[in-house]
Symmetry: C2
């Protein structure tokens, strides 16, 4: 159960201050610490946390091939034209071995090269459950603290992992393309519940209106209270930028909607993260101070041999950690 | 942070015994307890755990429309013909409100009506992260304890949630259909790493060989050690049953492969579940005995107001639970 810590990666002195001043090198360094799960990243996050909560987090998700990267780039251009600074986290669930994320970064960086109001970073899959969603949230905190007005969180796919990532955002934009019959079906699989806005991208293609209609018919199945936000469906052509200003206007309307749903959402996110942090700390403590060397492995052996069940084993570990039970 | 427990649902006396004897009503009741997260489900799982570890768990996943249900039905027929008893868990990530799971059950039950060697149960999405994967694993334990030789775990989609579900299996079958260009792309998103066997279903359709070729080319990118298992690609037509015996033969070969990879996999699964159980127990303890009424909510309020950061808050909670720190 030991948590293989990375070799100590001391945060450079003054890293937090430079980050808070918006220094891109400090931002990049901070994100690397988070990606490497360096112990110093927690100290850093603790220091910058009081300076967060200002940025608006926009999640953009959808199936592969929906044109999300281009859309995010166009949104960035439009946001810059509106004098807002932008941080982009592109979460790429491809295998860490492909190096796709890094290559993509280089290509995309060029579009905003020389603009200090934009910071782009791609992240690849982490090995453990929930790890990517957590890292994404922490990177968003970093960009927030660095003074970016808007943080765009772009993620591929419509699975649970993406749903969790998008849930860290203040608003979720689900992007589809014409003819995406299967994808609209897949929407039922949870993403329907997280979409605040729908975008039908590549709207010049045949079938765009049919795709809009099938989203409409799914929305018609939901019961919306009269004052509730009903997800609008926007049509865009990201390659030319058509429809992107309207999309940002719709996001602004969502942001300024009268309900306090936004607060509720931030609260739910905060609660989830706190529970997760508490669980992580406790598991660390158990690994370091409760279980002896090799004891966890021996326990797994006994579970495999069915001489102990995992429910009793978990109970025993917690009781021992709480000092209620002597070591067996 | 309070865990809204369900109203006490006492396990009927003798439930474990009846379950171990293979009584379908007892199996159904046990699964309901797990789905409802009834406190008694833990006692039940503890009692039946020593009788588990015998069933072979086969995960079947793939995008919507790949014909997984039909394939699983055909596999069940073939397994019955080979004198093996079968439990099926069909994990349906559609919203719990659609009722799709229950309807599907009724339709599918008919195919195996009157065969006491088959038990089918669908499960819908649980609200919380990882909840579905855990429940699926526990239902598999129940079917295992009830004496089923094989447990088929069927799940829709290729996202992280499905990956986690399929990881609970001993072998993972990824099902695709001809022309699934996007889906093969999506494979890169993690599922490539979990596939032990590929099935190209509806193999009579045009483009089947192209789909096989694109999987081949993805596999060619992986570096397999000479003695390592290289995922075979099977062609099936589930509606007629063509290719299904060959699929089961391939699964048997996988099961009897010389490496001890199977043990490693069961070990990893066991470790993950134990950590999860320990975390859950501890969070329960914190909610019930460490934090006062409304204290968690007050803490979230302070985090929202940025007067405390979540990292320090999590630390404080753990320290207090361990009795190292007085209440602030």
């Amino acid at each position: 159960m030991s948590n293989t810590s990375n070799p100590a990666q001391p945060a450079a002195p003054g890293l937090a201050d430079r980050l808070l001043a918006g220094d891109p090198r400090a931002i990049a360094r901070a994100i690397s610490l988070i990606e490497d799960e360096a112990p110093t990243s927690t100290d850093l996050l603790r220091r910058i946390f009081p300076h967060t909560g200002r940025a608006y987090l926009i999640g953009v998700t959808g199936p592969p091939g929906a044109g999300k990267s281009t859309l995010v780039d166009r949104m960035t251009q439009e946001l810059r034209a509106r004098n807002r600074t932008v941080g982009i986290v592109a979460v790429d669930p491809t295998s860490p071995f492909t190096g796709g994320a890094i290559l993509g970064d280089r290509v995309r960086m060029q579009a905003h090269a020389g603009d200090s109001g934009v910071f782009i970073r791609s992240m690849a899959t982490r090995g453990h459950l929930g790890g990517l969603a957590r890292a994404t949230y922490e990177v968003a905190l970093v960009l927030d603290a660095s003074g970016k007005d808007v943080v765009l969180i772009e993620t591929v796919g419509v699975g649970q992992d993406e749903v969790d990532i998008v849930r860290t955002a203040d608003v979720s934009v689900v992007t589809l393309v014409p003819g995406a019959g299967d994808e609209v079906q897949a929407l039922k699989a949870g993403i329907m519940e997280i979409a605040d806005l729908f975008v039908v991208n590549k709207a010049d293609r045949e079938g765009a209106d049919r795709t809009v209609a099938s989203i409409e018919s799914l929305l018609a199945l939901e019961a919306y209270a009269p004052e509730a936000w009903r997800p609008p469906i926007l049509k865009t052509q990201a390659t030319s930028g058509t429809g992107v200003p309207e999309l940002l206007d719709a996001i602004d309307r969502f942001r300024s909607r009268p309900s306090d749903d936004g607060l509720v959402r931030r609260r739910a996110r905060s609660e989830f993260r706190l529970r997760e942090l508490v669980a992580d700390r406790f598991l660390d403590h158990v690994a370091r101070e409760v279980l002896g060397d090799g004891e966890f492995e021996a326990l797994l052996e006994r579970i495999a041999g069915r001489s102990v069940d995992p429910y009793s084993a978990a109970n025993d570990i917690v009781e021992r950690a709480l000092g209620r039970r002597k070591q067996a």
